[in-house]
Symmetry: C2
Subunit: 223 residues, 2 copies
């Protein structure tokens, strides 16, 4: 098995390369893991030695297939635990991330398998992110940032790309969550904030920053 720390590095690299084909930079990793780039640099050398990443000095890194498998497996566990914490224990979606952050490192094949079965083989976690399969496949949802979508089109919220407690609590207050239907009524040119109507009722004002972290698809039911 890999150390707790190695696993966190691999997960960080996975997350940083998930939405772009680019090489991941040392600084980006350092920022995400809240550590110094010198520490990252050191660890990258070690991960490369173990063939978990492709690494050329000063050029950034990508995961090898072995590294990707490790990362995806961690993410699978993280998301399964989140479903458990929310669905079974009744914890809030805004508080489960740090718990799952620790649970994800516990590695017993039978435990994961039973946990998956116990929850009925869920496909998404409470934030709408896809749960990788046991064999490491990840179904990448084709949702877009709300900030990049068109006016007057019926949309469905399918994901949240910022899992901080503060952000999720804010969404709760707004009464906006996964499955919320909404339409963009207007976009303010000066700050790119938007007015949206949710569930054919309340109208909300969302900043661009907020809209960037909400993922949505064009609503099937009305297209």
């Amino acid at each position: 098995m890999h150390t707790y720390t190695e696993e966190n590095y691999l997960k960080a690299i996975y997350k940083l390369s998930e939405h772009s084909e680019e090489e991941v930079t040392t600084n980006a990793i350092a920022e995400l893991l809240e550590t110094k780039s010198s520490s990252v640099s050191d660890m990258l050398r070690k991960l490369a030695e173990k063939d978990l990443i492709h690494y050329t000095k000063y050029r950034g890194v990508t995961l090898t297939e072995a590294g990707r498998q490790v990362a995806v497996r961690i993410i699978r566990k993280h998301r399964l635990w989140e479903v458990f914490l929310v669905e079974k224990l009744g914890l809030g979606w805004e508080e489960v991330h740090p718990m799952a952050e620790e649970l994800e490192h516990i590695d017993f094949e039978r435990l994961i398998e039973r946990l998956d079965a116990f929850m009925g083989y869920p496909k998404r976690d409470p934030h709408g992110d896809p749960i990788p399969s046991a064999s490491g496949e990840v179904e990448m949802p084709r949702s877009c940032k709300l900030s990049e979508m068109n006016l007057a089109t019926p949309l469905l919220v399918t994901g949240i790309s910022n899992h901080t407690t503060a952000f999720l609590q804010y969404l709760d207050k707004l009464d906006l969550g996964l499955g919320t239907k909404l339409v963009i009524d207007e976009i303010m040119p000066f700050d790119r904030s938007m007015l949206v109507t949710i569930n054919q009722g309340k109208q909300l004002h969302l900043s661009h920053e907020v809209a960037k972290n909400i993922l949505a698809v064009v609503s099937e039911s009305q297209r």
Copy 2:
């Protein structure tokens, strides 16, 4: 919070002093944790500095109240997770110990509380051990080793004091578990092995070693 390692030391000291008032020796800890006594000695110094143990060089250790609280809390989590793994996930009592060994270090008050509630506030884990309360009280069961009990008395199995996979699998094969009613028919003087009848049916031959690890009480129903 304390490190994973510190927690394991405190838990080990707790377990070693649970059934006797004696000071716990360096060697005993080393054996339980499968480490060298020099490492233990080092760690004891550190734990004493943090006021988690009472330590006089060459004289062994006992837990301080603070140390006991930490240990009991770990054990509470361990046993709650074991109940979850067996009752909810359907894992076998012989395979959950190593999993709980890792889960026990995860420390979120709300998680523990919810887990406890989810299982209906169980009082015992799947091996019959008492689950400490949130405030750190442990109800010490007054059961005795089967090896020390009398012939021809109706007994009830209430606990198992060896949690190894091999031992628990052996008990499964014998069809002997918590709640099994039994009577000691005969004790062989030369090796102290015994013949017992379980559930008013099958007769089994148990070695002294096995009988030492089975805990029982005189059966209420027939006394």
